[in-house]
């Protein structure tokens, strides 16, 4: 019985697709295009996010200047304490002599600051790197409250802006993904609705001769699944091809290479696009078939 049911679903779905091949093709192409747009959008969001994160690593770092009375031993003890904070990725102790050498080097080693100031005027310093640039401001505030700390130099404005951009990227990406997903679902649901309309006589006869609701709806749902699956597979190939050509273009162009220094998405990104297509097909056909069932009851 179950085998016959499965056989019926497959044969009805394939027959309907063959008989209404133009409509089936339109549905599959619609699904492919919308899943491709969806995939491209996700890819763009990932690229932007990755680029922002890469830039953000540069501003995660804070310079923590200690009071001049803090000894090297106290500074190293403080380093160990800060290292245990969850917000902190690493802490490096910079001896005041090393700090002076860095400063002189940054001035081109033309000036001896020690002789000018009559000794080393700099305090010991800790270079703290926050785990996440979004936590850098919070981390800086906590560091400033420590009694040993004189001042904290952090790129607060840059961090704030980056934080803002990241939130914006996330929100816009999410909104665009939701809108595209909705459009994809609507397209697939409409394709199934058209199929239902084209088969309304057959459905009416099925209903009158005693076919169960599942017997009527299962082939339609399978049809939606096939549109989604094939559409998703085609879309992943399209996005893969587009991505590969973009990478080739970047590899031959040094300027672009600097801009697009991000990891290439691996194969499961493209495989998951097919699964997304399948899910869209299922949800789209569910929505169309749900209306049919309401009409039949």
């Amino acid at each position: 019985m179950l085998l016959r049911f499965v056989e019926h679903c497959i044969s009805e779905a394939l027959t309907s697709m063959r008989r209404h091949w133009l409509m089936s093709m339109a549905a599959t192409v619609s699904a492919a295009l919308s899943v491709a747009v969806f995939g491209l959008l996700v890819l763009i969001v990932l690229y932007v996010r990755s680029a922002v994160l890469r830039e953000s690593e540069k501003v995660n770092c804070m310079r923590v200047y200690l009071h001049s009375g803090v000894t090297e031993q106290q500074a190293r003890e403080l380093q160990r304490r800060i290292q245990r904070w969850v917000l902190v990725k690493s802490v490096k102790f910079v001896h005041k002599d090393e700090g002076l050498r860095e400063m002189e080097a940054s001035m081109g080693n033309h000036v001896s600051l020690r002789s000018l100031a009559g000794g080393n005027p700099l305090p010991h310093r800790l270079d703290v790197v926050a785990v996440n640039f979004e936590d850098a401001i919070e981390c800086a505030k906590r560091l400033e409250r420590l009694p040993e700390v004189e001042s904290v130099v952090c790129m607060a404005d840059v961090v704030k802006q980056l934080s803002h951009i990241m939130r914006l990227v996330r929100l816009c990406g999410l909104a665009l993904v939701i809108v595209t997903a909705f459009a994809t679902l609507t397209l697939i649901a409409n394709a199934i609705r058209l199929t239902i309309y084209a088969r309304r006589e057959a459905i009416r006869i099925m209903q009158l001769v005693g076919a169960t609701i599942w017997f009527i709806r299962a082939p339609l749902m399978l049809e939606g699944l096939i549109y989604g699956l094939v559409g998703g597979a085609v879309a992943s190939l399209m996005v893969y091809a587009a991505h590969a050509s973009l990478l080739r273009l970047v590899e031959t162009n040094k300027v672009l290479l600097m801009l697009f220094h991000v990891a290439v998405p691996n194969w499961y990104f493209f495989a998951s696009m097919t699964i997304v297509g399948l899910a869209f097909g299922l949800l789209g056909s569910l929505s169309a078939v749900h209306q049919l069932v309401r009409y039949l009851s």
């Binding site: 019985m1 016959r4 049911f5 019926h8 008989r19 006589e201 057959a202 009416r204 006869i205 099925m206 209903q207 009158l208 001769v209 005693g210 076919a211 169960t212 609701i213 017997f215 039949l296 009851s297």
Partner: protein, 231 residues
């Protein structure tokens, strides 16, 4: 087999299709429901087939109150009822054989049963030689015979026919009437809604006449006369 107890059907806008109708149709009976357009003939068939639910009253089919059936149970009721339509409702892209077999396929009948059942249904309606023809290649009368074959292929307890000769010439109408009679002689309860005088007078079966949603005549071996005066 079929009982209607004080059945009233009201549609949106207050239109009354049936008004407090009661009647009983026994197992194996042949009944014509006659009356002018809008008198409620098709409504009775739709109530029996549970395409409609009464606003008031009860419709009992084979001991089951059809209004109390859950939507998931309705298909099982319909498997015991065959339906013939005025406009045939055949699938144009399927052959005669496929159209008849379709009724069995959708209820999941095994393939071995399917072949014999379709053969015997087509033999009964006299269309076995045209098994591979498409509906467009058949006359109106032949298309109605295919529709009948589809309705009886799973040996239903009840056969409902809604204006089965509405689109046919008098000769074809008499042929269809004879077929309905033959199906009835096999033990199937047959209910025909019609305003075709020829077939009613030809078969001389029980006639229930409706007017304005109420039964005005119920004769065991009736003719069409009452309905003619209304028209």
């Amino acid at each position: 087999m079929i009982q209607l107890h004080n059945v009233t059907v009201k549609f949106k806008g207050g239109i009354v299709a049936l008004n407090n109708v009661s009647c009983t149709i026994n197992k194996g009976e042949f009944v014509f429901i006659v009356g002018p357009t809008g008198s409620g003939k098709s409504t009775i068939l739709k109530l029996i087939n549970r395409e409609l639910i009464p606003t008031q009253g009860k419709v009992i089919v084979n001991g089951i109150n059809v209004a109390s059936l859950r939507p998931s149970q309705v298909p099982f009721l319909r498997r015991s009822i065959g339906v013939v339509f005025q406009d045939f409702l055949l699938l144009q892209d399927k052959t005669v054989w496929e159209n008849v077999a379709f009724a069995l396929k959708v209820i999941g009948a095994p393939r071995s049963e399917l072949r014999d059942a379709v053969c015997s249904a087509l033999q009964l309606v006299g269309l076995i030689e045209k098994w591979d023809a498409y509906p467009r290649q058949l006359s109106g009368g032949e298309q109605q015979k295919v529709c009948m074959a589809r309705a009886i292929v799973n040996n239903p307890l009840i056969l409902l026919a809604d204006e089965p000769t509405g689109n046919l010439d008098p000769d074809s109408s008499i042929e269809i009437a004879s077929l309905l009679d033959r199906v009835n002689q096999r033990g199937t309860t047959v209910v025909v809604a019609t305003h075709d005088k020829y077939i009613v007078d030809y078969l001389k079966k029980r006639v229930i006449e409706l007017r304005g949603g109420s039964i005005v005549r119920d004769e065991p071996e009736g003719v069409y006369r009452g309905a003619i005066t209304v028209r």
